[in-house]
Symmetry: none
Subunit: 417 residues, 2 copies
Amino acid sequence: MRAEIIAVGTELLLGHTLNTHASFLSRECSELGIGVYYHITVGDNRDRLKEVIRTARERSDLVILTGGLGPTEDDLTKETVAEVLGIELVEHPPTRRWIEDLFRQRGMPVPSGNYKQALVFPQGTVFPNDRGTAPGLAVTHEGVTYVMLPGPPHELIPMFEKQVKPFLISLLPEKEVIHSQVLRFFGIGESYLEERIKDLIDRQNNPTIAPYAKRGEVTIRLTAKASNVQEAEERIAPVRQAILERVGAYCYSERDETLEQVTVNQLRDRGQTLALAESCTGGLVAQMITSVPGASEVFKGGVVCYTNEAKEWLLQVPRNIIDVHGAISMETACTLAEQAAQRMDADWGLSVTGVAGPSPAEGKPVGLVYVGLAERGRPVRAYRFTFRGSREDIRVRAAKQMLFLLQERIKKGELTT
Amino acid sequence: MRAEIIAVGTELLLGHTLNTHASFLSRECSELGIGVYYHITVGDNRDRLKEVIRTARERSDLVILTGGLGPTEDDLTKETVAEVLGIELVEHPPTRRWIEDLFRQRGMPVPSGNYKQALVFPQGTVFPNDRGTAPGLAVTHEGVTYVMLPGPPHELIPMFEKQVKPFLISLLPEKEVIHSQVLRFFGIGESYLEERIKDLIDRQNNPTIAPYAKRGEVTIRLTAKASNVQEAEERIAPVRQAILERVGAYCYSERDETLEQVTVNQLRDRGQTLALAESCTGGLVAQMITSVPGASEVFKGGVVCYTNEAKEWLLQVPRNIIDVHGAISMETACTLAEQAAQRMDADWGLSVTGVAGPSPAEGKPVGLVYVGLAERGRPVRAYRFTFRGSREDIRVRAAKQMLFLLQERIKKGELTT
């Protein structure tokens, strides 16, 4: 089944509202095995809306329209669908009563515009709206099903979940599911990763293999169609296995988790705790860790030691270490990590000091970053990196690198890193 | 000029990524006076992409495509545009050198896929990408201009602002400038703000008045068309004045700066310094402050005191304050702010402690947040807030509220807050 989603609303074209419905409905559809091939956004304009409906019916079996079911003259989604299909709308008495009751409860007369919300397709389906006045509608005409849903998310989402989803399932010819698994990688570029698995990508069919890069990370989405989830997972398994055999060293999650989620989970599983000392990342790592619900079980705290005073006074970094080696050095990174762990009684101390830019510091170039990692009862280690890009890029890459190092060390132990 | 925006990427159709580019580019275009009539999303599929490009060229003067410029075989935006237009791409030596240099700096050979990123339109425009390997491209063919931009937001946004916007302005038929000023507000809801200036919005013409809400903040963009910038500013001035007379109390920037930029600038102007103690925001405020280049002049450092131990050991918060009043209390907020300022010898100490959720803590409800503010030589103050929304919403709102409080206090002095 081929679907497309048409969002109707000039506010979307002005960029004042994000089209979150398209992604919500796409996720829901792909879980049902309905492939979404296009998203379209068009303004509250009858001619252009007609044109996109005509294009949609030529190429899709299912057309989901959102918005434009309100009471104003601007709202013309169902009227335009009816016009294109040559169907005359009829009044739906239960909806008319519902609207009248709503306004009676508010002690107001029904505004004339609201009566048109009771008009429906004579041979169609009505999805009552218990959060508003506009019911959802569906009609099938010449093999194409049109579903029209109200724009407000707090009306659309529950209506979809309770009424539209079962309706769509009833349309499906075969009971097919589309199931995805996401592998997440760090420390390998997208093009390198792709080169390493090029033959698998070239042969891809079911599952499909979709790599996607974002700021130092690469994700691979494996998507299979099958008659049920278990069968889809069985299709995915050998391909995932083949990918992991080649580039598994860079894979930090096989379940689409972020680096911070993986780190928090690993620490929680081991009953261990973490303390941070951040210089150039300025609190970013702490912010990432604490964005994970339940971080308080494993995160003792952190210091954003942006000045030498903060390093000395909060973490008792000896003045002479900074004087001799500089604040941006292996030695300072080690001491920061050790002191953070000791002073907060944590199992792990993770530190960073470097030059995020835009200007060099201590005569050291922009992008130079040292990471310190202290583990209770083990010698502290420091790592040196050079990152490129803007100040923001360098901070984000350094933060991710720190979490990647930590989760690798937790996973593999000291010897292998 | 009629524009449409085509986003290319299967991940968008699966609903895993929100199409934020369509709204960003729509806002930018409408500010330039370019009407956006359609948003289209299509997968990484040559035939469907061809079809949407063919439809677009029939109805639009400007077609902006995002995504699909990467090094992989899935990336086929420019190849498909070239195919539809019947143009052969040629190698652009400066881009090839840029890509080779990038990989040389990383000490890696250039993966074969990256060479195709140096292919451009022979009669077109190249927008160099200083954040990645894929340059942006533009080409005009039979009266229609096609602009192709890389998908990653941290590449697309600066490229648009620095290079594509001037390029689009050069396409506009009349030599008219479109000039904007942005006012930024905090602490007032969008609908309330709009109500206060409704008559101005209803009468808007030149300048236009566009309010836009995002997470606790509202911006108003005033955009005037005129024959030069000075004339545009003269048109904007009385409208801006009228808005500020009504809602100026909530305005923290008349120059489109963020709260963190305003705060850093104010502190720098006064030669003052700041120290932070963050509990529920977990480093977010430090991260915001340090994202501003030059923050090191004013930011002494911060403590992410996520546990009571961190509060005691790093900031010497007396145990009995936490025992008697709780970690989430006015008293703890005051002590954290004072101790942060004292221990880091800063002019200002700003602290936060609260419940970000998802679960209540210390028997206190999700969303309850205390902010402490200590100024050298003045009595410390604490403020109590209740925020609604997700964990992330509460953290972001709390962080913005802290910066808003601080900048107001710096601006107005103690008595008026």
